[in-house]
């Protein structure tokens, strides 16, 4: 289904070394607009490294990253953000002593007009208004956007981080284990949010260890093993056993045959 479209985000032959350790050994990645694509792999498979390369945190040693077909070289996360790529970090990357509104706008504060704005005077009412709207849109109940984030529950904090990414991303959102620290209800809510974000035409790249969750929420699944993409599945047509097999390599050959194999076309 996807091959006819231009990938929104693609990586080809990405190599990243840390000293003698080669975390990525020519990894590929493809993501299309409006889909949820899960990136899975065993510990040490290179998931985090790949996402760090894709989101501009790390520069690849070899290989290239393309956004809408254009080769890009990110100088840092800000570069990626300028291209409309946002990340929800596993640690959430929030300033716990600041309120939700300030966290939503961290680094992108809204200033007032005129001279006051030139002096960096914040337009707090505007930021709070937008924050309330952003949270309402995600269905997040936040009684007080002026309370420090540290006083919020884990799920609410998660929501603040997700809301920030959603508010500013217009192409891709990376989510690193977004539900790892959440309870059942909150987990369902976050996954619901992921779905709704994708329906708006944004691509969500989900890193997760939770196989049922991966299958329930994503459209496609890409599997990394030992720094390479070993398989790519359509979520509806695969099973947990297949995914685990591809991750661990125990079902290496069958996995490659069943999955929509991409190894061949990477060589271009």
């Amino acid at each position: 289904m996807a091959s006819a479209r231009e990938p929104l985000l693609a990586a080809h032959g990405v190599v990243k070394r840390f000293g003698h350790v080669q975390a990525l050994q020519g990894a590929d990645f493809t993501a299309y607009a409006g889909e949820v694509v899960a990136l899975i792999g065993d510990n040490g498979a290179g998931k985090s490294t790949l996402v760090n390369v894709l989101s501009g945190v790390l520069a690849p040693d070899e290989g290239e990253v393309r956004v809408e077909g254009q080769a890009v070289r990110f100088g840092g996360p800000m570069d990626a953000q300028r291209h409309g790529l946002e990340t929800v970090y596993q640690d959430l990357s929030l300033a716990p002593d600041l309120d939700a509104a300030s966290n939503l706008y961290l680094g992108r504060e809204v200033v007032r007009g005129g001279l006051l704005g030139r002096l960096g005077v914040l337009d707090r009412p505007a930021m709070r208004r937008e924050a309330v709207r952003a949270f309402a849109e995600l269905g997040v109940e936040l009684n007080d956007v002026t309370a420090p984030v540290t006083t919020l529950s884990g799920g609410q904090r998660q929501s603040v981080a997700v809301a920030r990414a959603v508010a500013f991303a217009n192409k891709v959102i990376f989510m690193d284990e977004p539900t790892a620290a959440l309870g059942v209800v909150q987990r369902a809510r976050v996954l619901d949010t992921v779905r709704r974000v994708a329906d708006r035409g944004i691509c969500v790249v989900l890193i997760s260890h939770n196989m049922p969750e991966v299958l329930s929420v994503s459209d496609r699944v890409e599997v990394l093993r030992l720094g390479r993409r070993v398989a790519s599945f359509t979520a509806a047509d695969t099973t947990i056993e297949e995914l685990v097999g591809a991750m661990t390599g125990s079902l290496d050959e069958p996995a490659r045959q069943n999955g929509s194999l991409r190894k061949a076309e990477d060589g271009r």
Partner: protein, 354 residues
């Protein structure tokens, strides 16, 4: 940056009716809740209790205009230093060097003054001296900030080194003796002893500095980034803020205010007092922490520091007025300081467990 958000937002607005403004907020005024939340309220209560106690204990003696003015003048320089220290501590840093930087700036300005007219120097010389003091302070602060920003040496050590080095340079330049004629009479008669509407210029200057920096911390992007860096520097870095540059600016401002403190000291006392500033750092840090600013960064306010500066000042004056040895002040402040940090720690723990 803001344009981006506006492009994205309208789509959201159409999907869902925006909640009524204030609908999710409680009736308690915003500023009051924030004041209470930040932990400066209880220090303010302590200050009020102290003033009330001394007023009752020494009726007609403590709460006189003379005492208030004297308290304010004594506190003015510490207040200026404390304002800068508030920013530094909010970034989870510390600056031990301020007393030495003050001395170095005073010596630099004083030496220029001695060679350009001494006590009888004209207004031009006074102006140059002020610029020299501010520049030396800011320069030293920027230098320390640059080392802190590398992240290789903790601020405690950077500024401990700065403390020794700045004082050493000041002593090298003067041979360790306070030079005569360091301050011009013009400076002393204007900023030092002058008054406007009955309020000493020193107090007016300190009040203006406090107000400006208070607004910067509470209402501007710079202030928000200062708080955010103390709260989670990694998050701020990922958000694209130049954390290193920000730290250099914060330490630079601290130095600038130490330079201003030097000008105020010269104006007030007419001498560089090379040996008289070795405990400025501890007094100022005490005041900032008493004012509810967290030593662990991320939280604090300039208003709190104002209260923190006045508690020791009121204690000193009050104890003298009621005829108790003023050294009790040191004991009292020490106990309150430890209690303040204890409370801060407890509050932090309960919040994180919540």
């Amino acid at each position: 940056m803001t344009a981006d958000s506006k492009e994205v937002r309208p789509a959201a607005a159409q999907q869902q009716d925006p909640p009524a403004p204030g609908g999710t907020r409680t009736a308690v005024p915003d500023w009051l809740r924030r004041a209470a939340g930040i932990g400066e309220l209880w220090t303010f209560v302590i200050l009020v209790v102290l003033v009330a106690f001394f007023t009752i204990a020494a009726p007609g003696k403590f709460f006189t205009q003379y005492d208030l003015t004297q308290i304010a003048v004594n506190a003015a320089i510490y207040l200026v230093l404390g304002v800068g220290m508030t920013f530094v501590i909010i970034t989870a840093g510390i600056d031990l060097s301020i007393g030495s930087v003050l001395v170095l700036a005073a010596v630099a300005a004083g030496e220029y003054n001695i060679h350009h007219g001494g006590p009888d120097a004209g207004w031009g010389t006074v102006a140059v001296c002020v610029v020299i003091a501010l520049a030396v302070g800011a320069g030293w602060g920027v230098l320390q900030g640059a080392v802190v920003a590398t992240g290789k040496v903790p601020p405690l050590i950077v500024t401990l080194g700065g403390l020794g080095a700045a004082l050493g340079i000041a002593e090298l330049a003067t041979g360790g003796q306070d030079p005569a004629g360091a301050a011009a009479t013009h400076l002393q008669n204007s900023l030092g002893f002058g008054k406007v509407l009955g309020i000493p210029w020193l107090v007016v200057l300190a009040a203006v500095v406090t107000a400006v920096f208070g607004l910067v911390l509470g209402a501007t992007r710079f202030g928000t980034h200062t708080l955010a860096i103390g709260s989670n520097p990694t998050a701020v870095r990922r958000a694209g803020v130049g954390v290193g540059r920000h730290l250099v600016t914060v330490y630079g401002l601290m130095g600038l205010l130490a330079g201003l403190g030097a000008v105020m000291w010269l104006a007030s006392y007419g001498t560089t007092s090379i040996a008289g500033h070795s405990t400025d750092n501890l007094k100022v840090i005490t005041a900032v922490v008493l004012g509810g600013t967290s030593l662990f960064g991320g939280r604090g306010s300039v208003l709190g520091t104002v209260i923190g500066v006045f508690i020791p000042a009121v204690l000193t004056t009050g104890l003298i007025v009621i005829g108790v040895q003023q050294y009790w002040q040191d004991v009292a402040v020490g106990v309150v300081l430890v209690a303040a940090v204890y409370v801060d720690q407890m509050r932090r723990k309960t919040r994180e467990q919540a």
